[in-house]
C-alpha cells in the first residue's frame, strides 16, 4: 500500500505522472494515476483535496499551451488521467454503500429482535404471572389467616415483578408505539422521563394519523436518544419537543436549555455524546432524513430533524447492488 503521504508529496507525484501521460506515457502513466489515487485514499486525502490538486496541475499544464487544439487535447488527456486517479475512490465508495446497506439491515433485524423480546417479557411472562396469582389465591383459601397474610406478601412481590417487567418491556419497545403511533408514544416517553429525572419535557404535536412504521420507530428512537443525551450531558431543566407535518415531510425539533456544546466536537468526540449524535445521524440516513444541530456553549441545544413521510429512500438503499 505504501506509506502515507502528505498532500504536497501527492501533488508532485500527481504532477509528474500527469506530465508523463501528456508526453505519451499511455497505460504506464494511467497506472501511475491509479497508484496516486490509491495512495491518496490510504493517506486520507479527501476527494475535494484531490480535485484541488488536479486543478492546480491542470493550470500548470495549460500554461504552456497556446493553440486551441493543443488546449483541448491537454484538457481531455487530463480528464482521462483524473478519472483513473478517482477509480480507487469509486471502489471505496461502493464499499461504504454496501456497509451502510448492511447496517440498515442489521438495525432492522435488531429492532425486530427487540420487539420479540419485549413481547416475550410483557405478554408471555405477564400471562404466566396471572396463572400464578390464581393458583396462589386458590391455595390461600385452605390456609389459616396467618398463612394467608404470608401468601399476600408473596403476591405483592409478584405484582412488583410484573411492574418491573412491564417497565422493561416498554423501554425495549413501547407497545403504545405500535398500537397508537408516534405522538402518544412520545407523550408517554416524555411523561416517564419527566417523572424519573429532573427534566421537564413538553411535547407539542401537530400530526394527524399514523406514519409508516420505519419512520415512527426511527423518530421515536431518535427522541429517546436525544432525551438520554439531555439527561446525561446537558444539565438542562427543560426540553421542548415539537412535531409538525409539512406536505410530504415530518419536522421534529428537540430543544433544551442546557449548557450546549460545539456541534463539530459532538460528532468527532468518541465519547458518548459523539456516539449518540452519530447514531441519530445513522438512523436518519437510513430513512432519508436530515439533522441540523444548533448549539453553542451556554446557549442550549436544538436538534432539527426533517424526514420524508413516505420514506422511499430506506427501501431503495437496500435493493441497490
Amino acid at each position: 500500500m505504501g506509506i502515507a503521504k502528505t498532500t504536497s508529496d501527492l501533488e508532485s507525484l500527481y504532477g509528474e505522472a500527469l506530465a508523463q501521460y501528456l508526453a505519451g506515457g499511455e497505460e504506464g502513466a494511467l497506472h501511475g494515476a491509479y497508484e496516486v489515487g490509491r495512495l491518496a485514499l490510504a493517506s486520507e486525502v479527501g476527494l475535494l483535496d484531490l480535485a484541488a490538486l488536479h486543478h492546480s496541475a491542470l493550470i500548470r499544464i495549460l500554461a504552456g499551451a497556446h493553440r486551441q487544439d493543443e488546449i483541448g487535447a491537454r484538457c481531455s488527456a487530463a480528464s482521462q488521467f483524473f478519472t483513473e486517479c478517482l477509480s480507487p475512490y469509486e471502489m471505496s465508495q461502493r464499499g461504504y454503500r454496501d456497509a451502510v446497506a448492511a447496517l440498515h439491515l442489521l438495525n432492522e433485524t435488531l429492532e425486530k429482535e427487540v420487539q420479540r423480546i419485549a413481547h416475550a417479557v410483557h405478554d408471555e411472562a405477564g400471562q404466566l404471572l396471572v396463572v400464578v396469582y390464581l393458583a396462589l389465591a386458590e391455595i390461600a383459601k385452605d390456609l389459616t389467616p396467618a398463612m394467608q397474610a404470608r401468601i399476600k406478601d408473596v403476591t405483592d412481590l409478584l405484582y412488583q415483578v410484573e411492574g418491573h417487567l412491564r417497565e422493561l418491556s416498554h423501554e425495549l419497545r413501547p407497545t403504545i408505539l405500535d398500537d397508537l403511533g408516534l405522538v402518544p408514544a412520545v407523550r408517554f416517553l416524555a411523561d416517564r422521563v419527566s417523572r424519573r429525572s429532573s427534566l421537564a419535557v413538553q411535547v407539542k404535536a401537530n400530526l394527524d394519523g399514523r406514519l409508516v412504521p420505519v419512520v415512527e420507530i426511527a423518530l421515536y428512537r431518535i427522541i429517546q436518544e436525544a432525551l438520554n443525551n439531555a439527561i446525561r450531558h446537558s444539565q438542562a431543566k427543560s426540553v421542548w419537543i415539537q412535531l409538525d407535518e409539512d406536505p410530504g415531510r415530518i419536522v421534529c425539533s428537540i430543544r433544551d436549555d442546557g449548557i450546549g456544546f460545539r456541534p463539530a466536537a459532538g460528532f468527532s468526540e468518541t465519547g458518548k455524546k459523539g456516539l449518540g449524535l452519530i447514531g441519530i445521524q445513522e438512523r436518519l440516513s437510513a430513512i432519508g432524513g436530515t439533522l441540523q444541530i444548533t448549539s453553542e456553549p451556554g446557549r442550549g441545544t436544538e436538534l432539527l430533524i426533517v424526514v420524508p413521510k413516505e420514506n422511499s429512500n430506506g427501501n431503495s438503499n437496500r435493493t441497490c447492488r
Binding site: T83, M91, R94, D98
Partner: protein, 137 residues
Amino acid sequence: MAAEVENEISVPINSDQDVVVARHKGRGLATELGFSASDSTLLATAISELARNIVSYAGRGEIVLRASHNSDRPGVTVVARDTGPGIASIEQALRDGYSTSGSLGLGLPGARRLVDEFEIVSKVGQGTTVTVRKWKG
C-alpha cells in the same frame, strides 16, 4: 510478454510493470467491445487490484483476458491465476477490513464491487484463481 491464443490474451505477472501490461490489454479489449471510457477504467482498476494481489501475495502468476458474450451484450472475462500460498479462508479474504487495503474498500472486496460476476477458488499450498466478468453497460 503477453501471448494471444484464440482470442485469449495471457499476461504473465511478475512485477508492477506486468500490471501495466495487463491493464493495457484489458482496457484495449473493453474498448474494442464498445465499453464506455468509465467502464473501461473500472475494468482496468479491477485488473490492477487482482494483479497487485498476485505480486504481493504469490510473487508470480498470470492474468488471462477473454471476450465473452451473453445473449444481448459483450463482456470481458478476467482470470487471475497464481500458484502461491493460497487463501485459507476465502470468506475472510473477501471481508472488508481483513487487509489494509480491504479496510479502505480496495483489494479483493473492492475488485468484486467493480465487476458483475466474481468467483474465487483457492487451495492452501496450491494457489488461487479469481475469475471476474464485466458486461458492457
